[in-house]
């Protein structure tokens, strides 16, 4: 753990497609970039025992999660030749069909972005203390577990 306060990765509610579009636009001044790779996690309307997931309510151990996201970011920059990297995760309610995770990596060359993005997403799934309550349409719920 470093002493500097890690960047806050969390956003209240869903991540909008406009926000993603604007993030892409901001990279057009970085003309050493040749390849971007973007991962988006979207809430699925899974049907479990005849009940449909309407939304996921996300909570997190925010301080620890931001530290972990920071460690994941540092490790990815060490492993892969990346120009930039951005991670955003939702907190609170995200409805089915909405986006809850946005990971964005950029590099001069394409080969590296595929490996880097998969690495980062798997690390987030495994190491970030984020919790998801799947709310069904009848307002009952169950707790999501990453597979």
């Amino acid at each position: 753990m470093t002493n500097k306060k890690p960047k806050n990765v969390f956003k209240q509610g869903a991540i909008s497609s406009e926000f993603i579009g604007e993030s892409i636009a901001k990279h057009q001044t970085k003309t050493s970039i040749g390849a971007h790779n973007i991962f988006l996690g979207q809430v699925r309307a899974d049907v479990i025992d005849e009940k449909t997931v309407a939304a996921i309510e996300y909570t997190a151990y925010e301080d620890m999660a931001n530290t972990k996201f920071d460690e994941i970011r540092e490790a990815a920059f060490e492993k892969f030749e990346l120009t930039c990297m951005h991670i955003y995760h939702s907190l609170g309610t995200v409805k089915a069909g909405e986006i809850c995770l946005f990971v964005f990596v950029s590099s001069p060359r394409r080969k590296v972005v595929f490996k880097a993005l998969e690495y980062i997403v798997e690390e987030i799934k495994a190491k970030a203390p984020v919790f998801g309550k799947e709310i069904f349409e009848d307002e009952t719920h169950q707790w999501k577990v990453n597979s």
Partner: protein, 77 residues
């Protein structure tokens, strides 16, 4: 030692709170857990990891921490 204990996700359905303070005399994480198991009947049946000062630790770790968190399975993304 005054310890802050944080509960997350489904564990809060057992504890009915997200955070509590405990003046604790034990020296190991496992002793603290035993105390919590006595306080919350069904806690022992749940799957969770323990973080001490934001780092995952196992039960045999020495208690040094001002902050202990009980973390159910992660579901980010």
């Amino acid at each position: 030692m005054l310890i802050t204990i944080k509960y997350f996700g489904q564990l809060t359905e057992i504890t009915h709170l997200e955070e509590e303070y405990l003046d604790f005399e034990g020296t190991q994480v496992s002793e603290l857990l035993d105390t919590l198991y006595r306080k919350y009947n069904t806690l022992k049946t749940k799957d969770f990891q323990v973080a001490q000062n934001q780092e995952l630790v196992d039960e045999n770790t020495k208690l040094t921490g001002q902050e202990i968190a009980l973390l159910p399975p992660f579901a980010g993304g």
